[in-house]
């Protein structure tokens, strides 16, 4: 979640949603995202809305945090009911950050328990938490599993120490296989997150990271090219030429290498940056984002979506806590998307996933573009003939260009 909030309309203090949010809600999945804005160390590349313990004053401390989030969940139930949104069980819950596992496992468990009390979890619901390899123990992972968590996503990033150092990651790469083993022992599914294209990372470094990842045999792997966000320490280091700039061609080479090695190890891509060992191993929570499901995002700076209404909370944990202490909606702004804009988002998001989208859903410009995109090797021709727009490997590397052409932009 980038730290800069979008520009939108003001959000009402009572958290009431426009009528559009409730329309057709019964037919959509309902998910919960919980943002944990704490990190032990601020990483040089990260522009997420996170804080180290030292940066936060009273009223927003880690100790009080689960209570504050629980009060947002209470607020959410009332606001949704008052807005006429039908009651639904949660199909997925995702704890992201930040480093959720900086909170005691019991606190995470208490938030999950509150969500379960308020909405109920569907049978077989997916409950994930992100974690740093060095912020978990066998006991904490067992506590999470016992509380109903089903999945843990470790921020591994790289297996190469000098790359981890540029990223400001503190963990010992040796720690990752151990953490994975503990999670498995606790009965949790495991995902590993990787970052490629870090300044100074050679192709051999990247191959080493992929090999180490595959050796852990996780159920799911995400691999992201490093994005240099404005305002981060890394951006400043590159500007001052202390660190080499990133290179798109290097990113392309490494993406191709990742897909090749992961495919050989039995992982299949299902989104531009995500691979899974089997269909049930895909991250259902993230798929919900891409398929236009409804979700409530709790926590400072968290984004929510309900039937084409998007809103986002105030960024600072203190301001966030202050609002909830007076039963005021923590939303800072929102936007209500019209039909055309929802269609744009639909095409933008569906194109990135393996489901693709039906050619029939494209406008005339998009349908006209398909043949050219097949000829250029960016779309799967056989799939298109069968009525589905689906990216090829080359197309995944140029997905944004493909989306623009499908939209006639």
């Amino acid at each position: 979640m980038p730290s800069v909030l979008p520009v939108g309309d003001p959000a009402p203090l009572d958290g009431l949603l426009p009528a559009q949010a409730a329309e057709g809600a019964a037919g959509r999945e309902f998910c919960l995202y919980v943002h944990i804005p704490f990190c032990a160390v601020r990483c040089g590349y990260c522009d997420f809305n996170t804080y180290t313990a030292k940066e936060l004053g009273s009223g927003a401390s880690q100790a009080e945090y689960s209570g504050t989030v629980n009060s947002e969940l209470d607020f959410a139930v009332k606001a949704l009911a008052a807005s006429g949104v039908p009651e639904r069980k949660l199909s997925t819950v995702f704890f992201g950050g930040g480093t959720p596992t900086l909170l005691p496992a019991a606190d995470l468990a208490s938030i999950l328990r509150r969500a379960d009390q308020l909405w109920g979890l569907e049978a077989g619901a997916e409950v994930t938490t992100e974690a740093n390899p060095d912020s978990v123990t066998p006991e904490s992972l067992q506590t999470l599993a016992d509380a109903g968590f089903t999945r843990v996503s470790f921020g591994m990033q790289s297996a190469v120490p000098h790359v981890l150092k540029v990223l400001d990651r503190t963990h010992d790469p040796e720690r990752v296989p151990q953490a994975v083993a503990w999670a498995r022992a606790a009965g949790l599914k495991v995902s590993l997150d990787l970052i490629y294209g870090t300044p100074g990372e050679s192709m051999a470094d990247w191959v080493a990271s992929l090999e180490a990842t595959i050796a852990c045999s996780p159920d799911h792997i995400s691999a992201y090219s490093l994005i240099i966000e404005d305002g981060t320490k890394l951006a400043a280091q590159i500007r001052r030429s202390e660190v080499a700039a990133i290179d798109d061609d290097d990113h392309a080479d490494k993406y191709l290498k990742a897909d090749e090695m992961l495919a050989a190890a039995g992982y299949t891509w299902y989104e531009v940056s995500n691979w899974a060992r089997s269909d049930p191993d895909r991250c259902r929570h993230n798929l919900a984002y891409w398929r236009g499901a409804d979700w409530w995002g709790a926590g400072p700076g968290a984004h929510s979506h309900m039937g084409g209404v998007r809103w986002w909370n105030v960024k600072h944990p203190a301001a966030y806590a202050q609002r909830l202490s007076t039963s005021v909606s923590p939303a800072a702004g929102r936007e209500t998307l019209d039909g055309r804009t929802r269609q744009v988002e639909h095409i933008m998001l569906q194109t990135r996933i393996i489901d693709g989208l039906a050619t029939a859903e494209l406008g005339p410009e998009g349908r006209d573009a398909v043949a050219g995109l097949i000829a250029e090797g960016l779309l799967d021709g056989a799939a298109a003939i069968a009525g589905t727009v689906r990216l090829t490997l080359q197309g995944r590397l140029l997905a944004d260009a493909v989306v623009r052409r499908l939209l006639g932009y």
Binding site: D249, H303, R310, V344, M348, D400
Partner: protein
């Protein structure tokens, strides 16, 4: 000390003997407008409370840039030794692009105030206008301005002026337009030294048009100087060059607001309004006569304005083409020198090829189009007019590189200019080097004073239209001044260099250059474009070619990655907005074959500013 005139002479009944017509010749920034303002105040035609700085410069752009484009005439009363006189101050444009207008303004006067900054000395353009004034037999009153400045060196520059026009340095008046010091003495001197106009009051009327201004309320306002006879309200007048006749709806003098009168007599200066809507029907330099009793001969000296520099003007947003057309039609009403015709560029779409008197004229026109009509424009590199003789002896006139004939040509002739450069003597070497690199031939060199030199060169116009003046300024730390006038043509080894993107010629980047410079142009343009054009999904070769011969080549590698790695819940709005921004950006893309070229690339590639490029590297 002269008092303000108690009773001003009445227009249409003024004895020519008490009329004095003068202009002020000065370089930009030498304080002409401030001095003029001070005269308006001292003679009482503008009350102090109505005074605004540079009263006479009416157009916003003039006020903004502090330069005078359009001239005007103001009638001011002034009393000396008990006699009330009528002083007509005719304002002249100060820039080399408008030499013809200047010459017509000078022709309307008997004398000129030569105004020179006491801290800077005379500049080349002033020198040029001084020559014009002397050719018109004008009486010159040399004046040093800004004597209040600490850096003023009145003795030094009085010496310089006296050397130039002959006479005693003691006779050079020293004034300050800012404080008013010496301005009354100047007005007295104008009355004493300038001859009164002479003409035949009983002859058919002959009045010379020295300016013609379009006013959106009143139509064209024509400024004239009556030489013979009389013009009266409601009579029919005739323009001698076109034989067109109009009724005089209003006749009057500016003092400085337009004031209708019973007419204008011999030697008088004033304005005419006939209701015409286009300055082309009232051309500067033309002679106005009575329709019923026309003069047998015009005053002479009339010339059609001749554009020297051409540039393609294209709206960045193609749908603005009609707006640009209407805007040019409107500007034309007020600018007889502006000519244009529709032009199509494969790269830039629909636009106009526009002819200008010079680079300043181009810049001002472009600025007015953007400021007054809200247009965003691309202008192609300015070029001059070439005469190309083919093997079959046919001659083709080329005003646009794309018209340059393919295949064998016998010879190419290019327009030449005589340039005069004034600068401190320490820069002589640098200036000679610059002029030689621009294919100039030295015609002479004179020392105006111990440390100031006048260099005269014969140069191809094409070599000075681009960035010559900027280069000259930078090589002389801003001290050099330049004046030039068209002076014949020469045969030269000129070729057309084309720029090709993925094999497609981009007409907007074609240029006609000397063969010796073709390679450097090709290398400069291809490497510039390689920086400016974003990578595409395929490799894009950029080539420079003379005919079918490739002289330079660069490559834009294909883009391999165009995807945002992360697009989770909180990224979606941002990502969608980015898409919409890219969609807007796409509108500013021009397609050259399959290659998307951002407008910015065209603008940057066509801009002459090398210093910016250097700063980037």
């Amino acid at each position: 000390m002269s008092p303000m005139a108690r009773t001003a002479p009445v227009p249409a009944a003024t004895d020519p003997a008490i009329i004095r017509n003068f202009c002020i010749i000065a370089h930009i920034d030498h304080g002409k407008s401030t001095l003029a303002d001070r005269m308006l105040q001292l003679t009482g035609v503008v009350q102090p409370r109505d005074m605004k700085a540079q009263y006479l410069d009416r157009m916003d752009i003039e006020r903004e840039r502090g330069i005078t484009i359009k001239s005007q005439a103001v009638r001011m009363p002034w009393e000396l030794d008990g006699t009330a006189y009528a002083l007509n101050m005719i304002d002249t444009p100060g820039h080399v692009d408008f030499t013809y207008e200047v010459s017509r303004s000078l022709a309307a006067c008997e004398g000129a105030v030569l105004l020179v900054d006491a801290a800077q000395g005379i500049e080349a353009q002033t020198l040029a206008n001084l020559y014009l004034a002397m050719e018109n037999d004008l009486t010159i009153i040399p004046v040093l301005n800004k004597i209040d400045l600490p850096a003023a060196q009145p003795e030094k520059y009085a010496e310089e002026l006296a050397n130039l026009i002959g006479g005693d340095p003691e006779d050079v008046l020293k004034v300050s337009g800012k404080t008013g010091e010496g301005v009354e003495a100047l007005l007295d001197k104008i009355v004493r030294d300038l001859p009164a106009p002479v003409g035949d009051a009983n002859a058919p009327a002959r009045a010379m048009i020295f300016d013609s201004v379009y006013d959106s309320y009143r139509g064209v306002v024509t400024y004239v100087r009556v030489v013979d006879g009389q013009l009266s309200p409601r009579e029919r007048i005739q323009m001698m060059s076109t034989k067109a006749s109009h009724e005089l709806l209003e006749i009057g003098v500016s003092s400085p607001e337009p004031t209708p009168t019973k007419g204008l007599g011999v030697g008088e200066v004033g304005y005419l309004i006939t209701g015409v809507k286009d300055v082309r029907q009232s051309k500067v330099g033309d002679t106005v006569t009575n329709y019923a009793k026309p003069a047998p001969e015009s005053l002479g000296g009339y010339e059609d304005p001749k554009p020297m520099v051409f540039s393609g003007l294209y709206p960045i947003d193609g749908s603005d083409y009609p707006v640009l057309r209407d805007a040019l039609d409107k500007l034309k009403l007020n600018d007889a020198a502006l000519i244009y015709e529709p032009e199509t560029s494969a790269a830039l779409g629909f636009g106009f090829r526009v002819g200008f008197l010079g680079l300043l004229h181009l810049e001002i026109t472009r600025e007015r189009l953007e400021a007054e009509f809200g247009l965003d424009l691309i202008s192609t590199a300015p070029n001059v007019v070439y005469q190309v003789t083919l093997e079959d002896k046919n001659v083709v006139t080329v005003t646009n590189p794309s018209e340059f004939p393919e295949g064998k040509v016998n010879e190419v002739r290019e327009p030449m200019v005589s340039a005069t450069i004034l600068a401190p003597s320490e820069f002589v070497g640098a200036i000679m080097e610059l002029c030689q690199s621009r294919r100039g031939q030295m015609k002479g060199m004179d020392y105006l004073s111990e440390d100031r030199v006048e260099l005269r060169y014969w140069l191809p116009l094409a070599e000075i239209v681009f960035d010559f003046f900027d280069q000259l300024k930078s090589k002389t730390r801003g001290y050099a001044s330049l004046d030039w006038k068209a002076d014949g043509e020469q045969v030269a080894d000129l070729v057309k260099v084309d720029i090709l993107l993925q094999g497609e010629q981009v007409d907007a980047f074609s240029a006609i250059t000397h063969r010796d410079k073709a390679y450097s142009y090709g290398v400069m343009m291809t490497s510039k474009l390689r920086e400016l054009i974003p990578r595409q999904q395929f490799e894009v070769p950029i080539q420079a070619a003379i005919g079918s011969r490739i002289i330079a080549r660069e490559n834009i590698r294909a883009i391999r990655k165009d995807v945002l790695a992360k697009c989770y819940g909180g990224d979606i709005s941002r990502k969608r907005k980015l898409l919409e921004k890219q969609k807007e950006g796409k509108k500013r893309m021009k397609m050259v074959g399959r290659v998307e070229v951002p407008q910015e690339a065209f603008i940057a590639a066509l801009s002459s500013d090398e210093s910016k490029d250097k700063a980037k590297k």
